[in-house]
């Protein structure tokens, strides 16, 4: 398969100049279409479905965070649920004890999670592959119990958790609370997706991938592996933590039981199904994580887990390189066909 994919490289190159002439307006149209598709649900969907979609956007953002460190930098993390939880609790504690506004808590939550991610990044330097996976997993297992600990119970609310109130929409905007939360989640996610997109295409992004693909060569080229790896962990934890903040305010409740290690596994599943090392794949990963368990339950109430597993295996079998891989292959085929016909669309 891969051999046949290599062949049309030359025709594509031959077409390169007219294609890049089209690319600007194509890209513009794509952005417009994308924003329209992202905003349309506000007018089309009912509030419950909008709420689900809001959660899917938030999960997509959390998956994006994981993708930065695991997908692009090759450090396997099974513990991103912990950062999600810490972000959620940072926002919840500030909002319910300090009466902060939601927006003010975001930088704090981002900083706390980035700091925690940075700290986790150091042991990660000495641990590779499976050992790192297990170390981060232990973090995910430990966090719900730490949240219940007596020493911090006054802030975290212990097992009973904390309640918070989602921000009201601004009075000049004719939207209800659910629509507003969707816009908030969408806006914050869009900014972070854009920043990640830029980061990955920058010098740093290429360095991250080089370290993943061949650390020895990367080091020989003069890349500071330790700095890059720990910072990748920090950025990754920060993005997932911000997703946690959004999740807390949409659910309006945080409790240790909300952040079991299942969250970490879900994020990992979302990343693999969406496409490892793919920004767009993270979006699909978020949708998968939120909607597939519901589909599984519609099929069988007796054993939803079995159906979920079957769907997951089916996806991995049909889309071995994730949803993003499917998009890439479809785009390649489309270009090939266009090149063979000699006339682009």
């Amino acid at each position: 398969m891969s051999a046949t994919e290599e062949i049309p490289a030359t025709p594509v190159l031959a077409q390169a100049s007219p294609r890049s002439a089209m690319a600007n307006w194509q890209r513009g149209a794509l952005v417009l279409l994308g924003s329209a598709a992202a905003l349309a649900p506000i007018f089309v969907l009912e509030s419950f479905q909008l709420f689900q979609l809001t959660m899917a956007v938030i999960m997509a953002l959390a998956v994006l965070g994981l993708n930065i460190v695991t997908g692009y930098n090759g450090q396997i993390s099974l513990g991103h649920g912990a950062f999600y939880a810490v972000g959620a609790y940072a926002t919840a504690i500030l909002m319910s004890h300090g009466d902060w506004s939601f927006w003010a808590t975001l930088p704090v939550s981002a900083a706390v999670c980035a700091g925690l991610g940075y700290a986790v990044g150091f042991p990660a330097l000495r641990l590779g592959g499976l050992y790192l996976a297990l170390t981060t997993f232990s973090l995910a297992v430990a966090v719900p119990q730490i949240l219940k600990h007596r020493a911090i119970e006054d802030w975290t609310g212990g097992v009973q958790g904390l309640f918070l109130v989602k921000p009201d929409p601004p009075s000049w905007l004719p939207v209800d609370a659910d629509q507003w939360m969707y816009l908030v989640a969408l806006g914050v996610s869009a900014v972070l997706f854009l920043l990640s997109w830029n980061l990955i295409r920058s010098r740093v992004g290429r360095a991250l991938m080089a370290i993943r693909d061949n650390p020895t060569a990367a080091e020989a080229m003069g890349m500071d592996i330790a700095t890059l790896k720990t910072r990748a962990f920090a950025v990754s934890a920060m993005i997932t933590g911000i997703a946690g903040s959004l999740g807390a305010v949409v659910i309006e409740f945080v409790a240790p039981d909300s952040f079991g290690f299942g969250v970490s596994i879900s994020l990992f599943v979302g990343m693999v199904v969406g496409g490892v090392a793919s920004i767009a794949g993270s979006i699909f990963g978020g949708l998968f994580v939120l909607f597939v368990p519901n589909i599984a339950e519609e099929v069988s109430k007796a054993a939803p887990g079995v159906i979920y597993g079957a769907i997951l295996i089916l996806f991995l079998f049909l889309l071995p390189d994730g949803f993003a891989g499917l998009l890439r292959r479809a785009a390649a085929r489309w270009r090939r066909v266009a090149a063979r016909n000699g006339d682009g669309p």
Partner: protein, 403 residues
């Protein structure tokens, strides 16, 4: 093709436009002339999915009801979604039930953290949130949460009952109270305080432990050193076994009350040592199906007949089934009381107006009853004592304190 499509589309549009006038029942969400939709969530998957038999039993009870013609000609459509015991999913599934499936009300959702996550949502939306499958005390707060109601006696009521009994036996008791440091354990403090009032501080010495502690030996030793002659334990099973064994081993013989979630023979009494637990007191409101006293009991016969016909592969030893049968009976009673007015307001009014009701799987004398000021449907329990082999009921049914 095209015309047909357009015609059916037009017909559909006309139908949609006409619908509000055709169906006056629309004012009560989830209710039509032939159906009433009721929603619930349970842990169908995940670590506590053993509780999913509760939903199975309830579904079977509604099936029996529908086979018999339903309530006032309406069939019950009971929709249960899986939340995996994760609070965010409980909120998601509850919103699906309320906003998408448009259920009339919610019934018997499982778990304390899960119900906490939707507590405010359902009260803001004014959706009845009835007979929850959790023993926390916070569900009976009609002033702040007038749409939420529990069912089983809360841990707080349990503690009130122990306190009432011990005051009768030992008016000048010195009480030691050992509790797990969470909302479960703290309900026991609240219950004892309800009964003792101002005397609490002089009579009670309370010590807590963390769920993460390896043992509670040191707590037992320090409580024994206070010279207390009563020990009330708000503990989960592993610590319950430790407490019973340790108290016996150091030669402390208080009147020992044990939380009724921690009285299983195989999980608590055997590990503690059956002979070391002789005399331990606990409480129950259900008939224990393994107790030969109920072999020919009409109520339990009714339940066994139901199980044979509607849940033929159900494990008869699982007391979640007797629990669910009680909760389901209560719900059906409320539906009957509602008559033809199944609006959310009336469902809540009827749920808060249950005249004392005997239930097949509950102990004689334990009655379900509610009022606008009392959102604790079951407030009675009977004490039972461990005789070295099994639990033996004694004394009369005791009611919790009026708070």
């Amino acid at each position: 093709m095209n015309t047909t499509a357009r015609r059916s589309l037009l017909a559909g549009a006309a139908g949609v436009l006409a619908a509000p006038r055709l169906a006056p029942a629309q004012e009560s969400p989830g209710v039509t002339a032939g159906e009433i939709r009721i929603g619930s969530t349970n842990a169908l998957s995940g670590p506590v999915s053993s509780y999913s038999v509760i939903s199975r039993c309830l579904s079977a009870m509604f099936k029996r009801l529908n086979d018999e013609g339903g309530v006032n000609g309406r069939k019950v459509n009971f929709i249960v979604y899986d939340d995996g015991y994760q609070p965010p999913r409980t909120l998601e599934q509850t919103r699906r039930l309320v906003e998408q499936d448009r259920v009339a009300f919610l019934f018997n959702q499982l778990g304390t953290p899960t119900n906490s996550a939707i507590h405010r949502y359902v009260n803001q939306r004014k959706v009845p949130h009835l007979f929850l499958a959790t023993g926390a005390d916070k569900w009976s707060n009609p002033r702040e949460y007038p749409w939420t109601m529990g069912w089983q006696p809360s841990y707080r009521i349990e503690a009130q009952i122990y306190a009432k009994h011990l005051l009768e036996q030992k008016p000048n008791a010195r009480i030691a109270l050992l509790y797990q440091n969470d909302d479960f354990g703290k309900d026991y403090i609240a219950g004892v305080r309800d009964v003792l009032g101002a005397r609490f501080d002089s009579m009670v010495r309370a010590v807590s432990h963390e769920a993460t502690d390896p043992t509670i030996d040191s707590q037992i030793v320090s409580l024994a050193a206070t010279g207390a002659d009563v020990l009330i334990c708000g503990l989960t099973p592993r610590f319950a076994a430790q407490a019973i064994r340790r108290a016996h081993d150091i030669g402390w013989k208080p009147m020992l009350f044990m939380s009724n979630v921690s009285i299983s023979g195989s999980v608590v009494m055997q590990p503690a040592g059956p002979e070391k637990g002789v005399g331990v007191i606990t409480s129950d409101y259900r008939k224990d199906q393994s107790d030969p006293a109920w072999a020919n009991d009409p109520g339990m016969e009714e339940w066994r007949g139901f199980m044979r016909r509607f849940v033929p592969d159900g494990e008869l030893g699982d007391n979640n089934y007797t629990y669910a049968y009680g909760a389901g009976t209560t719900m059906i009673q409320v539906l009957r009381q509602c008559g033809n007015d199944l609006s959310r307001e009336n469902v809540m009014r009827q749920a808060a107006g249950i005249a004392p009701l005997e239930i097949a799987t509950l102990l004689p004398g334990v009655k379900v009853s509610t009022s606008p000021a009392n959102f604790s449907p079951i407030r009675h329990m009977q004490l039972q004592r461990w005789d070295g082999k099994s639990w033996v009921r004694f004394g009369n049914v005791i009611e919790g304190a009026q708070v």
